[in-house]
């Protein structure tokens, strides 16, 4: 029996108050995500229930009960408070998927500070622009990543503390560095949680746009109301489930549904801190008897590539419900999962800005392979005419996905960038930046992005950011960055480059530029291909025409070239 039940009934009778009541929250009261995800579950009599099963790539395993999560998050919180860091300050988590990442997230929220999770594979430049923009006060990291912080700390006057969670004493601590061991510190039984309210900022996730630098999406503690009920109804999490979300908490899926959703429901979840390997993943499911699995199309396509034979080596019969997020899930992947697992992956659609799943294939409802599904109750989604931003009255038209603002986990602003926030709204609708169509049954089908942002493996990459970084390479004169199709990641980054006099295009130069971007920004932003060209297509006013290069890569019509420089 699914939690969700009948779609029409749910839509008709829906109110966010359902979630508030289940959580025991009344408007105007204190609401703190850290407390709801640990102390409250213990008060429900589940203190000894397993909250987190963690496994490292070497096979090392750690198990934490809800009482452990409560105590260790208190320990984190007290440590932060003792450093003199005050509520409202930004505290960054820059770590692999170690237990400290999950528990520290809750600890930071208990202090009233704003938690800023950042993907540990970010290079120094990506890290710098995000810490600078947020004026971050402290960063928790591991010794393997601290060198990246050391390279930029002198440019970050607001950064007071660099906290190393696995310091081993082999090398001396440097300027502003502090050691903290979650498990070796004295456990804190009682911590006075900061009284946060519905609109108190909670999480700052950074996302990329077409132009400008990454934007910090500000969420508030009230987002819990959406994250709790969507985790329950869409992921269909029950009290006896073993849940695995493969997303990294450096991205919003890893926090909304890798921390807040499951922990607020008191569910047992497991985490594998390991790179991708089909065999390791299947073994992890078998060993932990995973029942609900939330993953991404890129991972699913990689599993498909690994073949069906390998699946026969494992007992995956525990799997009950499968869901996917990050980019459109192609019909082949849905049909493959039906064939090999006996059940479909349910596509879910949402963004960093929405904070929760907003459109989805619900458990128990027929899945239309290739469709992102139907709007969550309480979410008004439509297809807008791009010309006037009015909803199309009839199904089948391709337009912009628009959402009526007002659900609890909707972003409150972009950090220090109110103008960019306001630009996301037209005619009373939040513009997602995605194009789609709606069929006669109300299912929505993704068509493409409405801008130049590249969605690679479910992560957004700004072409502007990559182009800016490319210009810092000594050999690059000009560059243009577009997406190109990729069978696993849907699309990947491709750069067109002209070289400066004195440099010669070569395979070695291509590799040198690729590695330059990988280290400066991130592996995601690294061009998977660099095409050296004599010149780039430009308008007569000198603006590079990315769309021509994009069309070439995707085999599309080039369109109007009347403004092209050399036409």
């Amino acid at each position: 029996m699914t939690h969700f039940g009948n779609y029409e009934d749910r839509v008709k009778n829906f109110s966010w108050a359902i979630s508030e009541q289940e959580l025991g929250y009344k408007p105007g009261q204190v609401i703190n995500i850290g407390w709801y995800c640990s102390d409250r579950i213990c008060q429900q009599g589940k203190a000894d229930k397993v909250a987190l099963i963690w496994e490292g790539f070497t096979g090392e395993k750690k198990i934490f009960t809800y009482n452990d999560i409560r105590l260790y998050s208190n320990t984190f919180a007290k440590f932060i408070t003792d450093l003199g860091i005050k509520a409202g300050e930004r505290v960054c988590l820059f770590m692999d998927r170690v237990p400290e990442l999950y528990i520290g997230f809750l600890g930071i929220l208990k202090t009233g500070c704003i938690v800023q999770p950042l993907f540990s594979a970010f290079g120094e430049e990506s890290l710098f622009v995000r810490l600078e923009n947020a004026e971050t006060s402290a960063i928790f990291t591991q010794k393997k990543h601290v060198s990246k912080v050391r390279k930029i700390r002198d440019k970050l006057p607001h950064l007071k503390y660099i906290i190393i969670v696995d310091y081993d004493g082999k090398t001396p601590l440097q300027e502003r560095e502090v050691a903290f061991s979650m498990e070796k510190s004295e456990k804190v039984e009682h911590y006075e949680i900061y009284p946060t309210y519905a609109e108190t900022p909670s999480v700052l996730h950074y996302t990329s746009g077409t132009t400008g630098m990454p934007k910090g999406v500000k969420h508030v503690h009230y987002s819990l109301i959406s994250q709790y009920i969507t985790a329950k109804w869409v992921l269909d999490l029950h009290d006896d489930d073993i849940y695995w979300c493969t997303a990294d908490p450096g991205w919003v899926t890893g926090t909304s549904y890798g921390i807040i959703g499951p922990f607020s429901l008191g569910v047992t979840q497991c985490v594998l801190d390991s790179g991708f390997s089909a065999e390791a993943w299947y073994r992890f499911i078998e060993k932990n008897r995973v029942t609900v699995w939330y993953s991404a199309p890129t991972a699913i396509r990689s599993l498909m590539k690994a073949g069906d034979e390998i699946i026969k080596k494992f007992d995956l019969s525990s799997l009950r419900h499968l869901a996917s997020v990050g980019e459109p899930l192609n019909p082949e992947a849905v049909n493959w999962s039906i064939r090999v697992f006996g059940k479909p992956f349910h596509d879910t659609y949402w963004q960093t800005e929405t904070g929760c799943i907003v459109i989805t294939n619900f458990p128990g409802m027929p899945v239309k392979p290739g469709s992102m599904g139907r709007p969550f109750p309480g979410i008004t989604a439509t297809i807008l005419n791009p010309g006037n931003h009015e909803p199309y009255p009839e199904p089948g038209r391709i337009g912009l996905i628009g959402l009526k603002p007002g659900w609890p986990s909707m972003m409150r602003t972009y950090w220090n960038n109110e103008e960019a926030y306001k630009n996301k709204f037209r005619n009373g609708w939040y513009l997602t930046g995605d194009r789609a169509r709606m069929d006669k049954d109300g299912y929505i089908w993704f068509v493409g992005r409405d801008d130049d942002v590249i969605n690679t493996g479910g992560h957004l990459v700004s072409p502007f950011e990559v182009e800016s970084a490319l210009l810092e390479h000594p050999a690059v004169a000009e560059s243009a960055v577009v997406s190109k199709p990729d069978p696993i990641n849907m699309e990947v980054v491709k750069a067109f480059v002209t070289v400066k006099p004195g440099f010669t295009a070569s395979k070695d130069l291509e590799l040198d530029i690729m590695n330059f971007i990988r280290k400066k920004l991130s592996p995601l932003a690294m061009p998977q291909e660099i095409e050296f060209v004599d010149s780039l297509p430009k308008t007569r006013s000198g603006k590079i025409m990315r769309r021509i290069l994009h069309a070439k890569e995707w085999g599309e019509e080039i369109g109007d070239t009347s403004t092209l420089e050399n036409e």
Partner: protein, 82 residues
């Protein structure tokens, strides 16, 4: 080809490891150990192709085949002409 493993190991150390990282050996898990992710694997593959003048087909450039220096060396040897 005698120093193949050492060349690969040194490249991984110089390109993918931060200064304070734990040392690696020929059997250290690179992909499953999170040292080289699937995106970065493309640059490692490109290095091998440039250095040894080979082409590694995408269907053989799997996470499993790139998961240690020893496995990568085995893969490269298959494509390098004797």
């Amino acid at each position: 080809m005698d120093d193949l493993k050492e060349i690969i190991k040194n490249y991984v150390i110089n390109e993918y490891l931060e200064p304070d990282s734990d040392p690696i050996d020929y059997d250290t898990p690179l992909i499953s150990g999170g040292i080289v992710d699937s995106f970065s694997m493309v640059s490692l593959k490109r290095f091998l192709e440039n250095r040894y003048n080979i082409q590694i087909p995408d269907d053989q450039a799997t996470p499993e085949a790139f998961d240690s220096v020893n496995k990568i060396a085995d893969l490269v040897r298959r494509f390098v002409k004797a």
